[in-house]
């Protein structure tokens, strides 16, 4: 009863619909309008444009109305039944799988390692060094990798010391997944560790002291204090990584691959790029993109379910 009265009073007395508030709201919306329009145009319109994956779209056509040829699931069937479908799926899963094994764990291991370094200046130096690759552009990184793994590149020479054949690894299909994975790890491990490091540093030092008194060794402290502290972030990052399993780092592959390595390097993203942007098959490639997004969403959903059940942490 009392509560009801209160809320009624509040509504009556509150200035929510007062003249001044409406005027302020108008001013604020006027201020936000240009940005909100940009979002409408550049985020929502492309989302709406996905409708062309159910059409025979010709550039310049409207999405609805006269001249639109609806074709149902034709493009999806063509993609899934296509010659390259299983190759694309296999390549995408292999490259993402390697990235999950190495790219995902490297920042965590590095953060744990850095935490053990007690000499502050040295620690700062190693951390600053580890961020460097993040700041170098992907184009330069790819250029360096292509040069290092070429016929007389630095890495090729190094490998030949260990008995590997001297060859141009850029046109070697077997080498591509490793080159791709290592480049990803190299570029991202330092920067990816920032979040983990900041969480580790916020763990109560008293916990470590207590553990030491109980005779816990270095590894036991990591296992029983540090890692449990990181659980939530690891779970959330893992869900996101699993969710994006079908959207590999297209950027880097586009720069590193060539027709000689298509059989292992061509993924859904690069295929979409070649057929869509270069050949103009807009409806077909939009359908392929939509297919990827839907599968990605399903993956995220499942990973989230599993994580919620196992760790108690999830995106929702």
């Amino acid at each position: 009863m009392l509560r009801k009265d209160n809320s009624g009073q509040k509504k009556k007395g509150s200035p929510k619909y007062g003249k001044g508030v409406i005027k302020e709201n108008l001013q604020i919306y006027a201020l936000m309008l240009p940005t909100l329009l940009l979002i409408l145009i550049f985020c929502y319109y492309p989302l709406y444009g996905v409708i062309i994956s159910f059409q025979d779209y010709v550039p310049g056509n409207a999405f609805f109305g006269e001249g639109v040829k609806w074709v149902g699931l034709k493009w999806f069937k063509k993609f899934v039944g296509g010659h390259y479908f299983w190759r694309l799926i296999k390549n995408t899963l292999v490259l993402s799988g390697l990235n999950l094994i190495f790219g995902f764990t490297a920042p965590i291991l590095f953060a744990l390692l850095i935490d053990q370094i007690k000499h502050l200046k040295f620690k700062k130096f190693v951390q600053t060094a580890s961020y460097m690759p993040y700041f170098i552009s992907m184009v330069i990184v790819a250029g360096m990798v292509l040069s290092f793994t070429g016929a007389d590149g630095m890495i090729t020479s190094l490998l030949s010391v260990f008995g590997f054949e001297k060859q141009n690894y850029n046109v070697n299909s077997a080498a591509f997944p490793w080159i791709y994975t290592f480049t990803n790890v190299w570029k991202g491990f330092g920067f990816g560790s920032i979040l983990y490091c900041s969480i580790i540093s916020s763990i109560d030092p008293g916990l470590y002291e207590a553990a030491k008194l109980d005779g816990a060794n270095r590894w036991q402290q990591v296992w029983h204090i540090t890692l449990p502290g990181l659980r939530a972030v690891i779970a959330i990052n893992l869900i996101n990584t699993v969710g994006s399993v079908l959207s590999t780092n297209t950027d880097l592959i586009l720069l590193l691959y060539n027709p000689a390595t298509y059989d292992v390097a061509d993924v859904i993203g690069t295929y979409t790029y070649r057929l869509g942007i270069l050949e103009g098959q807009y409806s077909y490639t939009t359908a392929a993109g939509l297919f990827t997004s839907i599968i990605g969403f399903i993956f995220t959903y499942i990973a989230n379910k599993i994580s919620n059940a196992l760790t108690g942490y999830g995106l929702w």
């Binding site: 604020i28 940005t35 370094i117 690759p133 700041f135 552009s137």
Partner: protein, 301 residues
């Protein structure tokens, strides 16, 4: 590997401590050495550089690769284009993020729930780059330098970052300003903008580095070299011409190369150093902004 070793030996064992320091040092070496190798090779005498076997210190000292490089008018044009995109993008990014964050933070905003939803949907769903490309065609932005500014001068992620920073500014400050007769615009200008400087720095730094390094959008929207940014120029020389390093170079520069008998690789390496220098020299100073942004971004969740 690292873990199994840790497990075997008890805490306080100096051997493990040394091993951990060695591993950390190795990590730093692996990240820094490739760049260092590129640097010393680009500075060596051409006859040594051509063998690619320069590992510790430059063999000889020769700046010819750099003097040839600075004559490349195409490179300077691309450099200028990049600046042309970085500056407006950065300013507009700070502006667009600030105004929407301010609106979201305004206590009596009508329809906040809808606005939040409007911002969250594009963070999870996107139409992919094909439909964005079609939009650019439709808007007449294809082959137009504005295609490097208008679609990339806002970011929902940054809006949320600024908003979570604005939330930490005490209400009492804007209340006090209101009592003094300030309207919403004055509160923004006199309270939030001066106090928001740290977060503006974070966003500006993210945008500068992001725009400086981006190439994909430019590669699909800008078919002609005239307006292409530095990264696309680099892609032509470092990636596409990897078979023959001297393709795509200015004739002037090519002549220099032949005269000096310099290898294409050395010139490429000089180019890598020359174009990464602005970022490499400055990132240690603004890394703290990145760290701050990362940590704040995660706190919002």
């Amino acid at each position: 590997m690292r873990q199994t070793k840790k497990r075997k030996i008890r805490e306080g064992n100096p051997a493990v401590t040394v091993l951990l320091y060695v591993l950390a040092g190795l990590a730093a070496f692996v990240t820094l050495y490739p760049m260092y190798y590129v640097l010393i090779l680009s500075l060596s005498e051409p006859e040594f550089a051509a063998t690619m076997k320069v590992y510790v210190l430059p063999k000889g000292f020769n700046l010819d690769a750099y003097t040839a490089l600075v004559r490349d008018t195409k490179m300077w044009r691309a450099y200028a284009n990049t600046f042309l995109y970085v500056i407006p993008n950065t300013i507009l990014m700070v502006l667009t993020s600030t105004v929407v964050a301010y609106g979201l933070n305004y206590k009596k905003l009508i329809g906040r729930k809808w606005l939040t939803m409007y911002l969250l949907i594009p963070m999870y769903f996107s139409g992919g780059f094909i439909t964005s490309f079609l939009l650019i065609l439709k808007l007449g932005l294809y082959d137009n330098p504005l295609s490097q500014i208008i679609p990339s001068c806002f970011s929902i992620w940054n809006i949320i970052l600024v908003r979570s920073y604005f939330r930490t500014i005490p209400d009492s400050l804007s209340e006090a300003a209101k009592i003094d007769g300030a309207g919403v615009m004055q509160v923004l200008a006199n309270v939030f903008i001066p106090l928001g400087k740290p977060i503006f720095a974070v966003i500006a730094v993210y945008t500068i580095v992001g725009t400086w390094n981006s190439w994909f959008r430019a590669s699909i929207y800008l078919p002609h070299t005239e307006w292409q940014p530095l990264q696309l120029y680099l892609r032509r020389i470092l990636v596409e011409a990897s078979a023959s390093a001297t393709d795509n170079l200015d004739l002037d520069v090519l002549e220099q190369l032949l005269k000096k008998q310099m290898s294409g690789v050395q010139l490429k390496y000089a180019m890598i150093i020359f174009t990464s220098l602005p970022v490499l020299c400055t990132y240690p100073f603004f890394q703290k902004y990145f760290v701050k942004g990362m940590v704040m971004g995660s706190l919002k969740e």
